[in-house]
């Protein structure tokens, strides 16, 4: 792999020097395109109080191609599947090279606050969400308490 592009260096510096509230993202020393992400569940969402780990990778074509992001912590959410893959338009066809790691993580945080069962990735969870939202939220809270137990660095 070639030298780390200046854009990635700049983004990394800013993520470390001016972190976003509730989000920490730091590159691994042996691969500066690979980030360890820790995200606090947003207040007034079923994920409140939870600490979620994600991995984020910047492919060779970045920023022309979007970053690859995945939840490592189990989460009960209609747009996130069992493998932690995320259904979010800006990570696919709505990607723009003017978006950054920072904006991507903010969008993921927003997705936790506003699940969208109409555009599901996990059909089972989405059906639960549509048929009995209160019960689905309870289930999401239980999962948060059970699995999302880390702490922000």
């Amino acid at each position: 792999m070639g030298e780390l592009p200046r854009r990635i260096q700049k983004e990394t510096q800013r993520l470390l020097s001016e972190p976003v509230a509730g989000i920490s993202a730091s590159p691994y020393q042996d691969n500066l395109r690979y980030f360890n992400v820790v995200l606090a569940g947003p207040a007034t969402s079923p994920f409140e109080g939870g600490i979620f780990r994600l991995e984020l990778f910047l492919p060779e074509e970045y920023p022309m191609a979007p970053p690859k992001v995945r939840f490592l912590t189990k989460i009960y959410h209609p747009n996130i599947d069992k493998l932690g893959r995320i259904c979010l338009d800006i990570l696919k066809d709505k990607w723009s090279p003017a978006l950054q790691v920072r904006t991507v993580l903010l969008s993921i945080q927003a997705l936790l606050s506003a699940p969208n069962p109409e555009d599901p990735l996990d059909a089972g969870v989405a059906d639960h969400w549509k048929s009995n939202e209160a019960a689905a939220i309870e289930e999401a809270k239980r999962w948060t308490q059970q699995y999302a137990t880390g702490s922000l660095p």
Partner: protein, 507 residues
């Protein structure tokens, strides 16, 4: 097990000769009102013709709306290349049309590699720069970043590159071909041109690529004079020889509709694997059980076993003598009237019914495969005839007869798809009569031209060929008349809800 199935398959129709109908005279075909048999007109376009057609549409829009050709291209793409609709919609609602298409008004031109008065931060590389390119929306990025963006769309996104947008977040303005061509490398420009051409044909509702693997032609359906939309199957023939359905790009499947064929193919995929043996080329003679090989497309089998000589039908295994005149009922499935039987074994009945149609469908299909061989063998036969003293021209009628035969088989194959989905009514009766007539004369024709050269009688061939062609036309006429009547009835039902009689026309 296999024996049971063959019984089930072959015992259901040929013993039923009750369907008396005085039709032995070959010329007493039932008359259909003479409908315009002319297929919908189409043209075969070469790559140059396509470029010309595309350029003409761009010129028309650019000149009428006084806009850049590259903006006209984007507008046309969002209106499926209907230049007149672009123009009329634009004059009705210019802002709305531009917005929807992702085009900037003519006052906002794209800028390619200019210098900004003040340094700004490029939103892609995040450097402070002065050089920039931008579409009409004015969203700047430094030229190397813009070029990398354009290049990425072409290299990694294939045909979708023609719908790429401004690189800025949520901006809907479309990349124009002028900007792409200014920023892309030569190789990318060449690929982009191919994508534009592909998209032109894909987006244009009256254009379709010829599906033959190495063909670069496209078929253009000529716009009907009344502006009626194109609906349903349409047989088209490419200059390369490929014949296909314009609507679904599959094999020409008339008289079946595209939807019938789609359902049928799904059904066959699900059901037919167990019955692949139907395609096998040897079957036991029903009389002596010696296996007999099918060598040509003709379904009239003669057992070659020394003392037997039994003549039978490959499809239904019934005696061949029942396959002429009034007795011919091989094509119809005998629906049982016995309510008790119906209730007892609905799924068995459904399977039998399906197998009836499927076996005949696949049989014409396999015969067609053999007929392709016949086509080649015919050349040899003609050569042989020349050797026997006739001149080259004399043999050509056999070639024409072979083509007729192939056309009839081709249609017959799909008549079973069509009939499978027909409700049991008057039209089905008529259709099956036409199908039966066609099938009989097709078999006669097939048998005659498969004979050894010295036994072929030219007049007999011509007679069967003419009969086949006429009956094929009759069959299509019956289908077309029915389609028109149904469409008319649907229209009337829609206009006059609950009315039973035709609306009176006002003079």
């Amino acid at each position: 097990m296999a024996d049971d199935e063959s019984e089930m398959l072959f015992d259901n129709s040929c013993d039923d000769a009750s369907d008396a109908e005085e039709d032995d005279d070959d010329y007493s075909e039932f008359e259909q009102p003479s409908l315009a048999q002319a297929p919908r007109p189409f043209r075969c376009l070469r790559p140059d013709d396509l470029r010309e057609m595309q350029a003409a549409a761009v010129k028309r829009v650019a000149e009428t709306l006084c806009c850049e050709p590259s903006d006209a291209t984007v507008l046309l793409r969002s209106f499926k290349w209907d230049a007149e609709r672009v123009i009329s919609s634009y004059f009705e609602n210019p802002e709305g049309v531009l917005e929807k298409a992702g085009v900037c008004g003519s006052s906002n031109r794209a800028v390619i590699d200019a210098a900004a008065a003040q340094p700004y931060q490029c939103p892609i590389c995040l450097e402070m720069v002065t050089a920039f390119s931008a579409l009409g929306c004015g969203h700047r990025a430094c030229t190397p970043c813009y070029s990398a963006y354009v290049g990425h769309k072409i290299d990694d996104e294939g045909t979708a590159a023609v719908r790429a947008r401004c690189p800025l977040v949520k901006c809907r303005v479309q990349l124009t071909d002028a900007l792409v061509n200014a920023l892309a490398t030569d190789a990318q420009r060449a690929r982009y041109a191919v994508y534009l051409e592909r998209a032109f044909v894909d987006d244009h509702p009256r254009l379709a690529w010829c599906p033959a693997p190495s063909c670069t032609h496209a078929i253009l359906m000529v716009q009907p004079a009344d502006g009626a939309p194109l609906t349903g199957a349409a047989r088209v023939a490419c200059a390369c020889g490929e014949v296909f359905c314009f609507a679904c790009l599959r094999d020409d499947h008339s008289p079946a509709t595209c939807e019938q064929l789609r359902l049928w193919l799904i059904k066959c995929k699900d059901d037919s694997e167990t019955y692949n043996w139907l395609q096998a080329n040897t079957r036991a003679c029903p009389a002596c059980k010696t296996s007999v090989e099918k060598s040509g497309g003709c379904n009239h089998m003669t057992c070659r076993h020394a003392s037997c000589g039994h003549e039978w039908c490959w499809v239904c295994a019934g005696p061949w003598k029942e396959h002429s005149g009034n007795f011919y009922t091989c094509n119809r499935f005998k629906e049982t009237d016995d309510e008790e039987v119906k209730r007892k074994d609905l799924s068995k009945a459904a399977l039998e019914r399906y197998l009836h149609y499927y076996s005949r469908y696949i049989n014409h299909h396999s015969s067609l495969m053999l007929e392709e061989k016949t086509r080649q063998a015919m050349e040899d036969k003609i050569a042989e005839m020349q050797a026997l003293g006739s001149n080259w021209l004399d043999g050509q009628y056999l070639k024409e007869a072979t083509e007729s035969l192939i056309a009839c088989r081709h249609a017959l194959q799909y008549t079973y798809v069509y009939a499978f989905y027909l409700p049991a009514d008057n039209h089905k009766e008529l259709f099956q009569m036409a199908q039966r007539d066609l099938e009989m004369t097709t078999e006669d024709l097939s048998a005659e031209i498969e004979k050894p050269v010295e036994q072929i009688v030219r007049l007999t061939v011509l007679h069967h060929q003419q009969m086949s062609e006429r009956r094929l036309a009759n069959l299509f006429n019956a289908v077309e008349a029915h389609r028109v009547a149904e469409a008319q009835a649907a229209l009337e039902a829609a206009h006059v809800p609950g009315a039973l009689s035709r609306p009176q026309s006002q003079a």
